[in-house]
C-alpha cells in the first residue's frame, strides 16, 4: 500500500510538471487583442462593429513570408445574462481568416472574411491585410432563435487566436512548444446594446 502511495505521489508530481509545462505557451503574452466592439441586437440579428488588433510575432511573420499560410480564428459567443445563475449561451459563431503571401505578385491574400467568406482580397502590405482581417464593419449575424423583447441583457464574448492545427505537420510540434506561435486575445466581454 505504501509503495503504491509513494508511486502515485511521484506520478502526480510528474503530471503536475507536465501540466505546468503545457500551460507555459498559453500564458505567454498574446499579440492579438480586441480593441473595440459594439454589438447591437437589431431585428433578430446581431450587428457588430469593431476592431481587432492582430499583431503577428516575428516568427509567424517570417513563416507567412516564407509561404506558410496562417489561419486566424475569430470566435463569437452571445450570452444572455441571468441573475444568480450562470449566463445562458444563446448562439455562437466562428470565422476563419486565411492569409497567405503570394510571392510573384508580392501581395498578401486574405480569404474568409466574416462579411465575405468566399472572397479573396489582396493587399500589398501585411498591415493592410491584418487591418482588413481585424475590421468588423456592419457585420450582421442572423439569430436562430427569437430573442425576448424584455429587459434581458446580453453579452458578446469575442476571442481571436492563431490556429495551429492547420499549420503543416512538421511545424506543429514547434508551434505547440514555442510561445511565438501562441497568439491569442483571450475572451473579451462586450455588452450588447438594443
Amino acid at each position: 500500500m505504501d509503495s503504491i502511495m509513494r508511486c502515485s505521489k511521484k506520478v502526480s508530481a510528474l503530471y503536475t510538471v507536465l501540466f505546468v509545462i503545457s500551460l507555459l505557451p498559453l500564458t505567454a503574452t498574446a499579440e492579438f487583442s480586441v480593441t473595440q466592439l459594439t454589438p447591437v441586437i437589431k431585428d433578430q440579428s446581431l450587428l457588430l462593429n469593431g476592431e481587432l488588433d492582430l499583431g503577428l510575432s516575428e516568427k509567424t511573420e517570417e513563416a507567412l513570408s516564407k509561404g506558410i499560410p496562417l489561419e486566424v480564428i475569430i470566435e463569437l459567443q452571445l450570452y444572455r445574462k441571468r441573475p444568480f445563475i450562470w449566463d445562458q449561451l444563446v448562439q455562437e459563431w466562428e470565422f476563419r481568416h486565411k492569409i497567405r503571401y503570394h510571392a510573384l505578385s508580392g501581395q498578401y491574400l486574405v480569404k474568409g472574411h466574416a462579411k465575405e467568406p468566399d472572397k479573396t482580397e489582396s493587399f500589398t502590405s501585411l498591415q493592410q491585410a491584418l487591418a482588413y482581417m481585424g475590421t468588423l464593419e456592419d457585420l450582421e449575424l442572423s439569430l436562430k432563435q427569437e430573442l425576448p423583447k424584455s429587459e434581458a441583457e446580453f453579452n458578446v464574448l469575442l476571442r481571436a487566436s492563431l490556429a495551429i492545427e492547420p499549420l503543416p505537420v512538421a511545424l506543429r510540434p514547434v508551434a505547440y512548444t514555442s510561445p511565438s506561435w501562441h497568439l491569442n486575445s483571450g475572451w473579451t466581454t462586450w455588452k450588447v446594446q438594443r
Binding site: V11, Y101, A170, P173
Partner: protein, 749 residues
C-alpha cells in the same frame, strides 16, 4: 490486499506489453504523419500527446518495477540480487547499441534533410521569380501607359457618356474590365468583356488603400491573383476633369493575362512558394524527425528494459525458487515442492530437487513414524512397569540408571528421577541406608553375572524391609544397548504374614495343649492343700500353704496368658458401626486420666476438626487405644516429665480419604533391634509384658483395612501412626504415602 493486487497488476507484463504495442502503433502513425500523410496529419498533435504520455507511463511502470526490485534487493529477497545484476547487464547491452544507432541516425537524418536543399536551386528559384516579376512588370508598365492614355481620353467625357467611352476604349485596347469611379469609390460606369453569365455582375472595386493612394494623385498598378489559378493586372489611375472645379474621377483597368502567362506565372509562384516553405520548414522538419527518432529510440530502449526486467525475472524464477527451496530444506521443511515451469535444464534441476525433497520427506516421515512407534512402546512399557507390584529398574552397561517404575521408588522410599543417567552408586549419596541395596547390585554387575537372585534387608526408620532382587543382563551389540534389568520385590509383608500365621498356630496350640492340663493342676494343688493342711505341723503347713498358693497363682497366670493367646488366634469378628474416632479417643483418655497410674502424665490432645464418622468396631478400637496408651504409660515410667500426645487429622492419598491417628510419647523409644518385629507376638521390651499388645493392635487395624507403622522420633520417644480409610477398605501405602513417610522421616517429627 487490493493495493498489493494493484501493484502486482501494475508491475505485470500485460500493461507493459499493451502500452508498448500501443506506443509502437502511434509512433508508426506519427511517422506517417510527419511524412505529410493526409490520413494521420490531422491527428498528428493527438498522436504526439499520446506518445509522450505513453512514454511517460512506460517510464513510470519501469520505475515502479525497478523500485520494487530495489526494495526486494534491500529486503534481501532470494534471487533479487541476481535479477538486478541481470537487469543491469541486459539494460547496458541494450542501451549501448540504441544510443549508437540513435546518434548516427540523427546525424544521417540531419545531413539527409540538408541535402534536399541546394544553394543553386534556391538561386534558380529566386531568379525564376524575378524573371516572372520582370516579365509581368513590363506588361504592367505597358498597361499603365495605356491606362493613363485612357484617363486622358476620359477627362473630357461626362459621366453620362462615360459608359460608351469605356466600352470603346476597352475594345480598342483589349481590356478585360474598365470601371470609372467617383473619388469616393462609387461606380460611375463600367465595361466588362464578360457577359451576363459572369459570376458577379458588379465590377471589382479597389480597396480603400488603393482609393486613398489615387486620391493623392498616384497611380496604382499591380498583379492580382484571381481565384486559385488566375492572374490579372490591375491599374488604377486618376482621371482629372477638364472643367475647373469638377471632382477627380478614378479609372480602374483590369486585364486578365493570357492563359499561357498565367500558367507559367502560377507555376513559378507555386514552385517558389513550395520551395520557400520547404526551406523554412527545414528546421521544424528536423525537429519533428528528431522527435520521432528520439521517441523511437526511447521506446525501443524502454521496451528493451521492460523485456530485460521480465526476462530477468522469468530467468531467475526457477533459481529463486530453488534458492528458497534449499533454504526451506535447510530449515527442516522437507515438504517443499517447486513448480516446474519449463522443460529445459532449469526444469530438470527443479524436478530433481522435487524428487530429492520428496525422498527426504518420506525418509523423515518414516523416521518420525518409527520414533512415534518407539515412544508408544516406551509408554506401553512404562505403563506396564508402573502397574507391576514389583519394582523395576534398568541400568546401562556403565551401571547408570536408565529407567525405573514408581513401585521401586515406593519400595526404596526415594525419588529416582533425579539420578537418571547417573551411576546407581549415586543413590547411596542421597540415602545412606540404601547402601546394602546398591552394594548388592554393583557386586553382581561386577561379577558379570547374567542372572542373579539375592535377598537383602534394609534397615529403615519405619522398620526393617526385606527385599528380593532379581537381576538379568540385557544383551546388546557391544556397549550399545547393553545393560541390566533388576526386579525388586518387597516381601516384608509376606514374611510378616507368614510370621503372623505361625504365631496364630502357636497360639492355637498353646490354647489347646496348655490350657487343658492347667485346671487339673490347679484342682490337684487345691485338693492337696485341703487334705494335708490340717495334718501337717505348723512349719510343714506353712510350706504347703506357700507352695500350693504359688501353684494356683502361676496356673492362674498361665490361664490368663493362654486366654490372651487364644484371643489373638481367634478369627476376627468386627461389628462395625458409624462412630466418631475423636469421641472414642476422648472417652478412653478420660478413663485413663482418672487412673492413679497416669496422674503424673501430661496428655495433649490435638484432634482434627470436622472429622467424619467412620465404620468402626468401637470395642476393638477401644482396645487399640487402651493398648497404645498402656504402652505409652509403661514406656514413660522412668521419664521425669512424662508426656503423651494424641492427634488425629484427615489425609488424602490418591483421591482416597484417611483418618490418621498419631500416638507419641517422650519415653526412650523402641529398641533398635526390635524395630523389624514390633508387631510380632511375644516381642516386648517390658519385663512383664506378654508381647501381644502391639500384635493385637496391628491385628485390629488390619481388620479395619487400615495401616500401622511405628517409628522413633529424632527428638526422642516413640510414635505409632495408624491410618483408617474413611470409605471402607483402602490401600493407604501408596506413592504419596511413601513420600509423606519420607518427609516425616526427614523432618524427624
Amino acid at each position: 490486499m487490493e493495493s498489493s493486487a494493484l501493484n502486482r497488476y501494475a508491475t505485470g507484463i500485460l500493461p507493459l506489453t499493451v502500452l508498448s504495442v500501443l506506443l509502437l502503433a502511434t509512433l508508426l502513425m506519427m511517422n506517417a504523419a510527419t511524412q505529410n500523410s493526409a490520413l494521420f496529419g490531422n491527428v498528428y498533435s493527438l498522436l504526439l500527446i499520446i506518445n509522450i504520455t505513453g512514454v511517460v507511463l512506460l517510464i513510470g511502470l519501469i520505475v515502479l518495477n525497478v523500485h520494487n526490485l530495489l526494495q526486494q534487493f534491500r529486503a534481501r529477497v532470494m534471487g533479487s540480487r541476481l535479477t538486478l545484476r541481470l537487469l543491469i547487464m541486459l539494460s547496458t547491452l541494450t542501451l549501448v547499441p540504441v544510443v549508437i544507432v540513435f546518434v548516427f541516425s540523427l546525424h544521417a537524418l540531419n545531413r539527409g534533410i540538408d541535402s534536399w536543399f541546394d544553394v543553386k536551386i534556391e538561386q534558380a528559384m529566386d531568379d525564376a521569380l524575378i524573371l516572372g516579376r520582370t516579365a509581368f512588370d513590363a506588361m504592367k508598365q505597358e498597361l499603365v501607359k495605356t491606362s493613363q492614355d485612357m484617363a486622358v481620353e476620359l477627362e473630357g467625357t461626362s459621366d453620362r457618356l462615360a459608359l460608351t467611352t469605356l466600352g470603346y476604349l476597352r475594345e480598342q485596347h483589349t481590356i478585360s474590365e474598365l470601371t470609372l469611379f467617383t473619388q469616393d469609390g462609387l461606380i460611375i460606369a463600367s465595361s466588362s468583356q464578360e457577359g451576363p453569365e459572369a459570376q458577379s455582375l458588379l465590377p471589382a472595386r479597389p480597396g480603400k488603400a488603393i482609393l486613398s493612394q489615387i486620391r493623392q494623385g498616384l497611380t496604382y498598378a499591380n498583379l492580382d491573383p484571381v481565384g486559385e489559378s488566375e492572374l490579372q493586372l490591375r491599374v488604377v489611375v486618376p482621371v482629372y476633369s477638364q472643367n475647373v472645379g469638377a471632382p477627380m474621377r478614378i479609372l480602374q483597368v483590369l486585364k486578365h493575362l493570357p492563359p499561357r502567362f498565367t500558367k507559367l506565372g502560377e507555376s513559378v509562384q507555386s514552385a517558389f512558394a513550395e520551395y520557400e516553405k520547404l526551406l523554412y520548414l527545414r528546421g521544424p522538419l528536423k525537429f519533428g524527425f528528431t522527435l520521432t527518432l528520439s521517441l523511437v529510440a526511447l521506446l525501443a530502449l524502454l521496451i528493451a528494459i521492460s523485456g530485460a526486467i521480465f526476462g530477468a525475472r522469468k530467468l531467475m524464477a526457477p533459481i529463486r525458487d530453488l534458492a528458497e527451496g534449499t533454504a526451506a530444506v535447510a530449515q527442516g521443511d522437507y515438504s517443499k515442492q517447486l513448480p516446474v515451469s519449463s522443460r529445459d535444464e532449469f526444469g530438470i534441476l527443479v524436478d530433481s530437487f522435487n524428487t530429492m525433497t520428496r525422498e527426504i520427506n518420506r525418509a523423515q516421515n518414516d523416521l518420525k513414524h518409527s520414533q512415534a512407534e518407539t515412544e508408544l512402546q516406551r509408554t506401553y512399557l512404562e505403563t506396564v512397569l508402573g502397574h507391576l507390584s514389583s519394582g523395576v529398574l534398568s541400568l546401562d552397561a556403565n551401571s547408570q540408571l536408565r529407567t525405573h517404575n514408581i513401585v521401586v521408588e515406593q519400595i526404596l522410599g526415594t525419588h529416582l528421577s533425579s539420578i537418571e543417567n547417573q551411576p546407581i552408586t549415586a543413590l547411596t549419596d542421597r540415602k545412606a541406608e540404601l547402601s546394602t541395596f546398591v552394594d548388592a547390585i554393583v557386586g553382581h554387575i561386577e561379577k558379570n553375572q547374567n542372572e542373579w537372585l539375592e535377598e537383602i534387608t534394609l534397615s529403615r526408620r519405619s522398620g526393617i524391609r526385606t527385599l528380593i532382587l532379581r537381576g538379568t543382563r540385557i544383551p546388546g551389540s557391544g556397549k550399545e544397548g547393553e545393560g541390566y534389568v533388576i526386579v525388586v520385590d518387597d516381601v516384608t509383608a509376606l514374611i510378616q504374614a507368614q510370621r503372623e500365621a505361625a504365631w496364630g498356630e502357636v497360639a492355637r496350640r498353646l490354647a489347646h495343649e496348655i490350657k487343658n492340663p492347667l485346671t487339673p493342676i490347679q484342682l490337684s494343688a487345691e485338693r492337696l492343700r485341703h487334705k494335708l493342711l490340717n495334718q501337717l505341723t505348723d512349719s510343714e503347713r506353712d510350706v504347703l500353704d506357700r507352695s500350693t498358693r504359688t501353684i494356683v497363682d502361676q496356673v492362674e497366670a498361665l490361664k490368663t496368658m493362654v486366654n490372651a493367646f487364644s484371643d489373638y488366634a481367634r478369627p476376627s469378628q468386627v461389628h462395625a458401626k458409624s462412630i466418631n474416632l475423636n469421641t472414642l479417643i476422648q472417652d478412653v483418655v478420660e478413663l485413663y486420666k482418672s487412673s492413679s497410674r497416669i496422674k503424673s502424665l501430661t496428655t495433649t490432645l490435638d484432634l482434627g476438626d470436622a472429622m467424619p464418622a467412620i465404620m468402626l468396631d468401637s470395642g476393638r478400637i477401644r482396645q487399640v487405644l487402651h493398648n497404645l496408651l498402656r504402652n505409652a504409660v509403661d514406656a514413660t515410667q522412668d521419664t521425669p516429665t512424662p508426656k503423651l500426645s494424641i492427634s488425629t487429622r484427615m489425609v488424602k492419598i490418591l483421591e482416597n480419604d484417611f483418618i490418621e491417628l498419631k500416638v507419641e510419647d517422650n519415653g526412650p523409644g523402641f529398641p533398635a533391634e526390635l524395630m523389624g518385629r514390633l508387631f510380632d507376638p511375644y516381642v516386648t521390651g517390658k519385663e512383664k509384658g506378654t508381647g501381644l499388645g502391639l500384635a493385637i493392635v496391628k491385628k485390629i487395624v488390619d481388620e479395619h483395612h487400615g495401616t500401622i507403622w511405628a517409628e522413633n522420633m529424632q527428638s526422642g520417644g516413640a510414635r505409632i501412626i495408624i491410618r483408617l480409610p474413611v470409605d471402607g477398605p483402602k490401600v493407604a501405602t501408596t506413592e504419596t504415602d511413601v513420600h509423606d513417610d519420607m518427609r516425616n522421616q526427614e523432618q524427624g517429627t
